[in-house]
């Protein structure tokens, strides 16, 4: 009996080993919650990379990549941790593309990724605090830190002749981090911030916030919030009461739903969103169009890049174990080497197999700096006739 059991276990173990070829990639994004309108496109972006690798069929000598989606909720750290825990312990993913919002990303990193030693690449967590987080070399991001976005925003405000601004931010890690970095950079450049006040998302009424912002005044209002949430409510209130006419819209406020909701009053407002004019950016748009989703939605390119980096690093290390490939991510992402754009993943795998060094450029000109985060390039846009018109890249 004992022998039979042993034999049985051995067979099962063998069977397990045989299918371990296949790679599982977790995608944890806020499919419900404040970012629910942009996350489907982000997940689709990551799955573009996965499908591309699967179509080539050459990763790690013929491994197929399966995707497991999980919901980070964007705001509920406990729910995100539970979802990530399930990805790692029950679905046994070998890498995580996510999470999206900074707060839940930090929670998943500390509670799940580090204890289990799983690599995480976030496409959109931009809080400066994550630069200093302990990560055991497991955490990367293809989105730049907000400290960088703050500097860029201050520069744009100066160039457009804004002497004083009021800032309102969503009361979480992302909003507070971005508001602080804008204020620091703008004041350093000689501007005045009349007020920096938080707003809560999903609340019934924003009259009090609008009233305080209006009393403080300023040339324009910087809204470091979310497009589906309080950010929209504050803008609507400020427009209705005539408190402000132009708004600065950072990445979280970039979305078609805002223009649809507010209408023509938004014309003349401007903002930034991570983006680049590199060859990769147009390629991803075409690929997204072919796959039937909107490639101009926020963080689609970053998501594609995050998933690609995980898969290419696996190939570079010749293993899908996070401990083996985590050191390879920066190597794959950065120069020197042959430049890799979206759609070139099959070529990249061949190059890596041949032992050639690659420089993954991807959709967003990925260059990992400091503690493994993208240096970032931003697209400056203005709202004209209900359209987001690109002014320049910086």
């Amino acid at each position: 009996m004992k022998k039979l059991l042993l034999a049985g276990t051995a067979t099962v173990a063998l069977a397990g080993a045989a299918s371990a070829q296949d790679v599982k990639l977790g995608i944890i994004l806020g499919f419900t919650g404040p970012l629910e309108s942009i996350t489907p496109s982000m997940a689709a972006g990551a799955e573009l990379a996965v499908n591309e690798v699967n179509a080539a069929g050459t990763l790690l000598d013929g491994a197929q990549v399966t995707v497991v989606r999980a919901d980070s909720t964007c705001v509920d750290a406990a729910a995100a941790t539970a979802a990530a825990e399930r990805l790692v312990t029950s679905d046994k993913v070998q890498g995580i593309m996510g999470a999206d919002c900074s707060g839940v990303t930090g929670a998943v990193l500390q509670n799940v990724a580090r204890p289990n030693g799983v690599v995480m690449i976030s496409p959109s967590a931009t809080s400066p605090a994550l630069s200093e987080a302990e990560d055991d070399g497991l955490f990367f991001r293809t989105a730049p830190s907000d400290a960088r976005q703050g500097e860029v925003i201050a520069e744009i405000l100066q160039e457009r002749g804004m002497g004083s601004v009021a800032i309102t931010y969503t009361n979480n890690d992302y909003g507070k981090g971005l508001a602080d970095s804008i204020q620091a950079a703008f004041e350093k450049a000689g501007g005045t911030v009349t007020i920096s006040a938080a707003h809560e998302d999903g609340k019934a009424d924003y009259s009090a916030e609008v009233a305080a912002l209006a009393a403080a005044g300023g040339d324009m209002l910087v809204v470091a919030g979310y497009v589906d949430q309080g950010g929209k409510g504050v803008i609507q209130g400020a427009l209705d009461t005539g408190a402000f006419e132009t708004f600065f819209l950072p990445d979280g406020m970039y979305g078609d739903s805002l223009v649809q909701a507010i209408g023509s009053s938004l014309d003349g407002s401007f903002g930034t969103v991570p983006g680049t004019d590199s060859e990769g950016a147009t390629k991803i748009l075409d690929m997204a169009k072919e796959a039937g989703f909107d490639g101009t939605s926020s963080y689609v390119g970053e998501s594609y890049d995050a998933a690609s980096l995980i898969l290419l690093a696996m190939q570079a290390a010749g293993s899908s174990a996070p401990a083996d490939y985590k050191a390879k991510i920066e190597e794959v992402a950065n120069a020197p080497g042959e430049k890799i754009y979206p759609g070139d993943l099959a070529k990249a795998i061949e190059l890596l197999k041949a032992g050639t060094d690659i420089d993954y450029v991807g959709a967003t000109s990925v260059e990992l700096i400091g503690p493994g985060e993208s240096a970032g390039s931003f697209r400056e846009y203005t709202v004209k006739d209900g359209q987001f018109v690109t002014d320049r890249f910086r």
Partner: protein
């Protein structure tokens, strides 16, 4: 010294928004207070009843718009409102028949009924999301403003603007009409009187031959009408989102309790107390003070008592103070 500008700034940013928000809260709190007074439990499903009623009204509005019907400068949703009320009344009567009646017959404790209503809340929550989705929906049409800030400035030559949205005016007018009708009904009609009798003393009311099922049914219909009206007015003024309606429950209960649960007058007063306390205590008086004071005394800071982060703390502090010193609320409702 510029009293007019100061006054307009105050009206524009504090009074008008506060008045509209207060009227929405008051209508919501009236429904809660009616249920509490007559059925004797706190109905947690009220926020989602509002969401359901608004949802039906939105569907009706879309139907009317598709048929080319409009109310001119007024939002089309007002025409669809009776449909919303009728369907919502049918839903809550059905819920009462299927769920609450069982517990009423058992003479269940109020705490049990509260938990039951929590369950009903989750079901309604789900129904609304299934039918209309989780996204934000704007369904306001017609004229958006009675007067815009820019027009007001041009008209009066003042440097401050005063904006009044059509929806804010409609909200206040409708609230006045609804409240007047409700008080007339409760004080002048036979059914209204029997409801008050039932609320005062259930056993005595039964002895005098009042039919309890009829009183309960009328209460639910009134609550449905109030909830739908409050929900539609709120949705017209801001926008419809299932999640926000669920969140509205908190200020609505605060209003009802501050005013005194079971007291209709109290519900109205409570609504305005909560709405204005949220806006005024956290208001930055800099602009108003700059207009009123001589230049030399004009403030550099914001003159803000506390940051807007604390606006909910303010309404709940008021709630606690009222309960400490007047446990039955401002207008002598039933003690909680």
């Amino acid at each position: 010294m510029d009293i007019l500008n100061a006054l307009v700034a105050f009206l524009n940013f504090v009074f008008v928004p506060g008045l509209a928000y207060g009227a929405q809260l008051a209508l919501g709190a009236l429904g809660v207070t009616l249920i509490y007074g007559i059925l004797r439990f706190s109905n947690f499903a009220h926020g989602d009843t509002m969401a359901f009623g608004t949802m039906v009204t939105i569907l009706g509005t879309w139907g009317l718009q598709a048929a080319g019907v409009s109310a001119g400068p007024l939002p089309t949703a007002l025409l669809a409102l009776p449909l919303g009320i009728a369907v919502t009344a049918a839903l809550v009567l059905g819920t009462d028949r299927a769920v609450y009646r069982f517990y009423r017959r058992q003479k269940a404790a109020p705490t049990i009924l509260v938990i039951v209503s929590l369950g009903v809340m989750f079901v309604m929550n789900g129904i609304v999301r299934f039918i209309i989705g989780v996204e934000e929906i704007g369904f306001t049409d017609g004229e958006r403003f009675l007067i815009t800030a820019g027009d007001f400035r041009n008209m009066t030559g003042l440097s401050e603007g005063l904006a009044i949205r059509t929806t804010q005016a409609i909200t206040v007018v409708t609230a006045v009409i609804v409240v007047a009708a409700l008080f007339w009904f409760l004080n002048r009609t036979r059914t209204g009187k029997s409801m008050r009798a039932f609320s005062d003393n259930e056993d005595l009311a039964l002895l005098s031959g009042i039919n309890p099922e009829r009183v309960v049914a009328v209460t639910w219909i009134l609550a449905a009408a109030l909830a739908t009206t409050a929900g539609v007015l709120y949705g017209l003024d801001k926008s419809f989102k299932a999640f926000t309606y669920f969140q509205l429950l908190l200020p609505i209960f605060a209003s009802a309790i501050v005013g005194g649960l079971g007291s209709p007058i109290g519900a109205i007063a409570g609504g305005f107390v909560i709405a204005f306390s949220e806006v005024t205590v956290t208001y930055a008086w800099k602009k108003v003070a700059t207009y009123l004071l001589p230049d030399a005394l004009a403030p550099d800071g914001l003159v803000q008592l506390m940051s807007t982060d604390y606006k909910f703390a303010v309404s709940f502090a008021i709630l606690i103070i009222v309960l400490l010193f007047m446990p039955t609320g401002l207008f002598k409702g039933k003690s909680v």
